[in-house]
């Protein structure tokens, strides 16, 4: 009966898989073994796998320097019988032994979502998205004319490569993480995804700025802006983790949602603390745009003055409460 030997790394990931038909297999670092191992703590002639008369595989240690062990951590003193799928160690080198009838899981179909996410790694798409981001940056530099000084173009243009590099850091980190875990790095798809979501975020923000002015800084718009931003962050993280991590889809979504919410909650917490410190400063919406962007119906100044009575009522209520410490 043939045997299958998997050579594992320290994280117990398979790095080699061998199939042997003979009844005795020599294991060790010497080149005349059947399976030549590399780990420096493995002896030249370390152990043997022997098929017993009952048709079971046994591990026999050949008086090696660092010894042999079987799962969970039993030293091999004499011929020890192995179960199919059991782990064993020659020194620190982990091996997993299967007999040839050991069942294997069914084949996985191609994952259509993963395929689609990988399409974000298309170089043309990445270049297009990068150009779009550059255009957005240039627009904001153009929009914010400094009141004095003329050197805004040169200085801000020098910042652009730095900005793009900064955006590439996150995908690079994910790629390194995947690589460490013996997965495909998938740097380009991660980069494309990040760029794409950042582009959408910028557009969302621009839309919210316009809406904020045109609806007089309505609370609903502020909320919509924050919720949209959080949703986009969660979407990006889910896609990132989908490509980088080998955990179940549910776990990926949970992790991305948790992290995304944490990030936006932190923003809320910071703004709450900040507001508390500065609550003597009047908080109002100062957005100004040409009148064409305004969607609401302007109120008359008489109505505006009438509405202001509500402010007096509100502060009168606040007056009754003691000041926050």
């Amino acid at each position: 009966m043939a045997v299958i030997i998997e050579v594992l790394n320290k994280q117990h990931k398979v790095i080699e898989r061998h199939r042997f038909g003979q009844a005795r297999i020599a294991l060790g670092r010497a080149f005349n073994n059947d399976l030549v191992l590399y780990d420096k703590h493995v002896s030249p002639h370390h152990a043997e796998l022997v098929l017993s008369e009952e048709g079971r595989w046994q591990l026999v240690d050949l008086a090696s320097l660092n010894g042999s062990f079987v799962e969970p951590a039993v030293p091999v003193a004499q011929a020890t019988e192995l179960q199919s799928g059991q782990l064993c160690w020659l020194g620190e080198q982990a091996l997993r032994i299967y007999d040839e009838h050991h069942p294997v899981p069914p084949a996985l179909p191609y994952n259509s979502l993963e395929q689609r996410l990988r399409q974000f790694g298309h170089p043309a798409l990445i270049v297009l998205l990068a150009l779009f981001l550059l255009a957005q940056e240039l627009f904001s530099v153009w929009l914010n004319v400094p009141e004095q000084g003329q050197s805004r173009w040169s200085r801000n243009l020098l910042n652009l490569p730095l900005l793009m590099l900064g955006l590439a850091l996150w995908p690079a980190l994910l790629a390194i993480w995947a690589k460490i875990n013996q997965h495909e790095a998938r740097f380009l798809p991660q980069l494309g995804l990040t760029f794409a979501v950042v582009v959408v975020m910028e557009c969302w923000q621009a839309l919210m700025t316009v809406l904020n002015f045109s609806l007089d800084g309505a609370t609903a718009v502020v909320w919509l802006g924050d919720i949209g931003q959080t949703a986009l962050v969660i979407l990006l993280l889910t896609a990132n983790f989908y490509l980088a991590l080998q955990i179940s889809v549910l776990k990926k979504i949970a992790l991305a949602t948790g992290l995304g919410l944490l990030l936006s909650l932190q923003g809320v917490a910071v703004s709450l603390l900040f507001e508390n410190q500065n609550n003597l400063q009047p908080q109002f919406d100062n957005s100004l745009m040409p009148l064409t962007f305004y969607l609401n119906k302007p109120v008359s100044s008489a109505e505006f003055t009438k509405d202001s009575a509500e402010l007096f009522r509100l502060t009168e209520e606040a007056r009754q409460e003691p000041p926050a410490q």
């Binding site: 153009w142 009141e147 003329q150 100004l288 008359s300 003055t305 009168e316």
Partner: protein
């Protein structure tokens, strides 16, 4: 000819010497006579027994009271559980003081004492003539009682709250001390300084009014309620003058804005038109009052401030112009000082408003209430015109310590006055 000049010179030197001698004598006598009637007023923190503030007070003949500034004793008025008052006389004797009545508008306080001075002060009922020598008495920086000769220069011209303009050094610690004429009669109470030899005194009439009220009503049972009433009455009086005035308008950019609407609101202006490089031409006019009412160490009130800004973009796209325009309205804040303990947070409303003339403005209106004084508010208004692509007019005002009715009436008058094409 030469001899004549010589005689003249000798004569004038002799005259000068005589006059100097005479003045020194009378000032010396004044000081010697009244020194026992001057007290150092000390605010002591009860917990540590240490001085938290010092000022000067003077003993009156009838009734037997001590007069000082409200701002000297304010801590003991507002937090009697934390602070107490004490006097120190010229014989280094100490004793307790108790606040009987205050006038925050004129920064005066009447304080009771068991101390009886040999030559208490009398109040002069007639104003000195412009240029008369008067003497300010007090204890600057805890260095000991001193006498400062100076000149009476009439009433401060541009102040709603009446103050005597005294040319002489009034330093901190002298607050609450008397200013007397050559006969030793009180013409004013030291209150503030605006730098070198520029002092301000509360006129004696304000003190007489407070004394009359005290003699009629007796000791106040609730000083806070008194302060509240005084603030409400004062703002009503001040704003009735402002609202009844015929507001003179001046051309400003493409519009018209109010100029110095009443004598006590002064206006200044500045612009950057000479700087060609600026992408935004900016003209600013601002009007405010130099005086305010002291309520406590970090809380002042009773001021009106108006500001107008005219912006014009040079070769800017409308979006670029509005982005700059927006930055110019982001930093509006109250004009008076206040702490969280004194006022509520601002409540604001912001909306695009169609003005009576058909023009549109983004209008912001914020209100905060005084915690200790019911019915008094600080108000902030800001309006930015939206009808032009490269031009903007920002009109802004803040009112401190006003009632809701006053705020509404001012708002109407102000909106009616500002106009543009």
């Amino acid at each position: 000819m030469r001899l004549q000049t010589f005689y003249c010179a000798v004569l004038s030197v002799l005259l000068l010497l005589c006059s100097a001698q005479g003045r020194a004598d009378s000032a010396e006598q004044l000081f010697a006579r009244f020194e026992p009637s001057l007290l150092q007023v000390r605010v002591l923190e009860r917990a540590s027994g240490a001085k938290a503030a010092i000022g000067t007070g003077f003993v009156l003949a009838d009734p037997a009271l001590v007069v000082t500034n409200y701002h000297v004793v304010s801590e003991a008025v507002l937090a009697p559980e934390k602070f107490q008052l004490e006097y120190l006389n010229s014989a280094q004797q100490k004793g307790a003081l108790q606040v009987l009545a205050v006038d925050v508008i004129n920064d005066l306080a009447l304080v009771s004492t068991d101390y009886r001075a040999p030559h208490p002060f009398q109040i002069q009922s007639q104003k000195p003539v412009q240029g008369a020598t008067i003497y300010s008495l007090g204890n600057p920086h805890d260095l000991g009682m001193i006498l400062v000769p100076g000149t009476y220069n009439g009433m401060q011209k541009y102040s709603f709250y009446p103050r005597i303009h005294f040319t002489g050094a009034v330093n901190s610690g002298m607050s609450g001390g008397p200013a007397v004429d050559a006969n030793g009669q009180v013409v004013g109470v030291n209150v503030a300084s605006a730098g070198n030899q520029l002092g301000f005194l509360v006129p004696a009439e304000a003190l007489q009014r407070l004394l009359a009220r005290f003699q009629q009503e007796g000791q106040s049972t609730d000083l806070r309620a008194d302060i509240e009433r005084q603030l409400l009455a004062s703002q009503q009086l001040m704003f009735s003058q402002i609202l009844d005035a015929d507001w003179k308008l001046k051309d400003f950019g493409i519009g018209k804005v109010p100029d110095e609407v009443v004598p006590f609101v002064r206006c200044w202006g500045e612009s950057n038109v000479e700087k060609d490089k600026d992408p935004l031409k900016k003209v600013t006019a601002f009007c405010s009052q130099s005086e305010e009412i002291f309520l406590s160490q970090h809380f002042t009130s009773g001021r009106v401030e108006m500001q107008f800004e005219w912006l014009e973009g040079k070769d800017l796209h409308p979006l670029q112009f509005f982005s700059l325009y927006e930055q110019n309205i982001s930093r509006a804040n109250a004009d008076n000082q206040a702490l969280k303990e004194d006022v509520t947070a601002f409540e604001c409303q912001h909306q695009v408003v169609q003005q009576p003339g058909g023009q549109h403005t983004k209008t912001i209106y914020c209100v905060r209430a005084y915690r200790a004084y019911a019915g008094l508010y600080d108000v902030l208004y800001l309006a930015a015109s939206l009808d032009h692509q490269q031009q903007g007019l920002i009109s802004h005002y803040t009112l401190s310590g006003v009632s809701q009715d006053t705020a509404r009436a001012f708002s109407q008058k102000f909106s009616g006055a500002v106009s543009w094409q």
